[in-house]
Amino acid sequence: MSDARDQIFRAIVEALDRNRNLGGTLSSSEARSSYADTTPPRPGWDIPMQQRFLDKLDAAAASWEILESSEDITAAVHAYLQRQGLPAAVRVAEHPLLEALRWPEDLTVTPGTAHQGLDVGLSVADAAMAETGTLILCSGPESPTSLVFLPDHHLVVLPQDRLMPYMEDVWGLLRERPDFPPRSVNYVTGPSRTADVEQTMQLGAHGPRSLHVLLVP
């Protein structure tokens, strides 16, 4: 096995040296600073960042509501289930923000990972970006990855101070985490979809059919 590694590295180094000896005529040997010192080209907007985020959520076929307090999460979840005609049950990530809530008696709330046939999962996003209307969820004890992909409906709480303009800003925020990088950093933009049958967009391919965002202060 190490033979293969050594041989591949030898071949790469040899190839690179040969190119360097050619005076870099094929593609010049650029330093990373030749591009990395400037801000990358990226989309701009002239509306408030939150508005951009909400517009992009709409464009990605996600739904959203703005709550006045995180205490309103329970009522919002309850109302969502009723609107969608779903059973009064929800699988909840073991996140301190959700654990601090007082859930109504008539709602079955189970903490933990997702399972086969799960209707509704509730998570808390670690960040979001206005650029594309994307939620960012990091795997860990407070956020099972299966909860992002197995339920039919995924509800995500987003504390508003976690909303960033661009993906680069998200990396800045996530790098501060002591556990960075977690096993899985999931960028989620709208519900699951496919266009594999005759190029026609269809929601609900393998992941959730609906994505609902609850913005809290």
């Binding site: 591949i8 650029e30 650029e131 299966s146 680069e168 990088p181 899985s184 933009t189 391919a205």
Partner: protein
């Protein structure tokens, strides 16, 4: 270089090969169902990309940055691969190196057997097509399930993908309805034409059980991030995430060319990838996976393995085809290629179709085994214009043509023709005489219609369309006149 086994691919693919490009292309042009599917695909992809790019202020600057990132990463590939390896290991993952397709298959098969795998789920990956992984796992008795909907459809049809991001683009809804009838209902439905939501839901339910019962999940990687040892997975369906999260072992297979320095570099490339591929600013799911499940994680695989494949890439790094290694597999080149649009992907005969495939296939399987591919191009240049990392695809195809000539793998007629033309071109007077006689003759033969339906030595052209007879004065006469006029003025 891939072995014969890799070239002899699954099912129907056994019969097709890059050597047979011409007859395969001819058959594709006559296939009414294929033409119906291609007609739809062509408009769809180019229109989506156009809209995606339109909404970006300075897409050209983004392309330039993408090119620089990829060039820089290739120029320092050794350093970044070392960093990648150590970061994957630090996160608790294992890195395996494979010189060729056979070595990669053996490594992956060994890992699956070690896990006593009975069922393996896969997320769409062109590199596992390149190494012909599925037949190897199946021969060892494993149930291999493709989970991307398009890839699942063609797995049922026992065909290879015909497009690198839309593998089942050549299939119509009627054909998909028939396949699902056969495999999900044992023919009980009598294959009526079904609606798209119904088909998608049915596949979702069938594949859900597979996801939950898989022992190993295999994915490719859109990028490898040296900084953190992360692999990047881009999907719209979410199948890659169910593939790497639910089973006990996650194996990711990637070419050594996929490495980029930092998360920020991957970010710029993601902005290019989505827009160039499907016109999306961001795919539904973009995931950065680093190592296996952590001690206090509630889910995720216990083992993470990254298989890094060379298979001729280090060789490409040193020669004139190095620019090709910048490729991020977005498929914009094939979506904008008139040749691909007319014949689809299967005619190219190997894993990678379209312009990028016409460059890659001869480099992977040998120029002598893919002699028609460098010519499957009109040199219209659209592929180079849309390429997100500015690969000069037409130049590379031209380079392959001259390599072919130099390596003496051009047929005798072409060689003779080129020699005659070369001789004429070096005798200005003779050349002038020949073109004068030639163009007059063609004009007479063209008659009042101004077109020729048959022409000696050009049967290849006239069997498909008329040859337009020359009209007006020759270029060199017009040029002479123009120069004279200019002098007088």
């Amino acid at each position: 270089m891939p072995t014969d086994r890799a070239l002899g691919r699954r099912g129907k693919a056994m019969q097709i090969s890059p050597q047979e490009f011409k007859p395969q292309a001819r058959a594709a042009l006559k296939d009414a169902t294929l033409q119906q599917a291609l007609g739809r695909a062509k408009v769809g992809f180019t229109e989506k990309r156009r809209k995606g790019v339109e909404h970006f202020d300075d897409f050209e600057a983004l392309r330039e940055r993408g090119r620089r990132i990829r060039d820089h990463a290739l120029n320092h590939m050794d350093e970044y691969l070392e960093r990648l390896e150590s970061m994957v290991q630090a996160a608790g993952g294992q890195v395996h190196w494979a010189r060729d397709d056979a070595e990669a298959r053996d490594i992956i098969l060994g890992l699956c057997q070690q896990r006593q795998a009975r069922r393996v789920t896969k997320s769409k990956s062109m590199i596992t097509e390149e190494i012909a992984l599925n037949p190897a796992l199946e021969r060892a008795g494993m149930d291999v399930v493709e989970t991307d909907l398009g890839e699942y459809i063609i797995q049922l049809a026992k065909e290879p993908p015909s497009h690198i991001i839309g593998p089942a683009i050549h299939k119509t809804r009627q054909q998909i309805s028939e396949l699902f009838d056969t495999y999900h209902h044992q023919g009980a439905l009598k294959a009526k034409l079904r609606e798209i939501p119904e088909l998608v839901t049915e596949a979702r339910e069938v594949l859900r059980d597979k996801f939950l019962s898989a022992d190993v999940g295999i994915t490719g990687a859109n990028f490898l991030v040296a900084e953190t040892g992360s692999i990047v997975l881009v999907t719209n369906e979410g199948n890659a995430d169910l593939t790497h999260t639910l089973p006990g072992m996650h194996i990711s297979v990637a070419g050594i060319d996929k490495v980029v320095p930092t998360l920020e570099d991957a970010t710029t490339l993601l902005r290019l990838l989505g827009r160039s591929a499907t016109g999306q600013e961001m795919s539904c799911y973009t995931t950065f996976v680093t190592g296996p499940r952590r001690t206090d994680d509630p889910d995720g695989p216990e083992e993470f393995h990254l298989v890094l494949l060379d298979n001729g890439r280090s060789r490409m790094l040193s020669g004139p085809y190095r620019d090709m290694l910048r490729c991020i597999r977005c498929a914009a080149c094939m979506n904008h290629c008139p040749v691909y649009g007319a014949i689809g992907g299967h005619a190219y005969g190997w894993v990678y179709p379209g312009p990028m495939g016409s460059v890659l296939t001869p480099l992977f399987v040998g120029l002598e085994n893919a002699r028609d591919l460098p010519h499957a191009c009109t040199l219209n240049g659209r592929c180079a214009t849309v390429c997100p990392v500015k690969i000069p695809l037409p130049d590379l195809l031209r380079q392959l043509r001259s390599d072919q000539f130099r390596q003496d793998i051009v047929d005798r007629r072409t060689r003779l023709g080129l020699r005659v033309w070369g001789y004429l071109a070096r005798q200005p007077r003779l050349y002038s005489l020949a073109t004068r006689v030639g163009s007059r003759l063609l004009r007479i033969l063209g008659g009042r219609r101004g077109r020729l339906s048959r022409l000696p030595l050009a049967g290849g052209w006239t069997s498909g369309r008329d040859f337009p007879a020359p009209q007006g004065a020759r270029f060199r006469d017009q040029w002479k006149k123009r120069q004279q006029q200019r002098r007088q003025a």
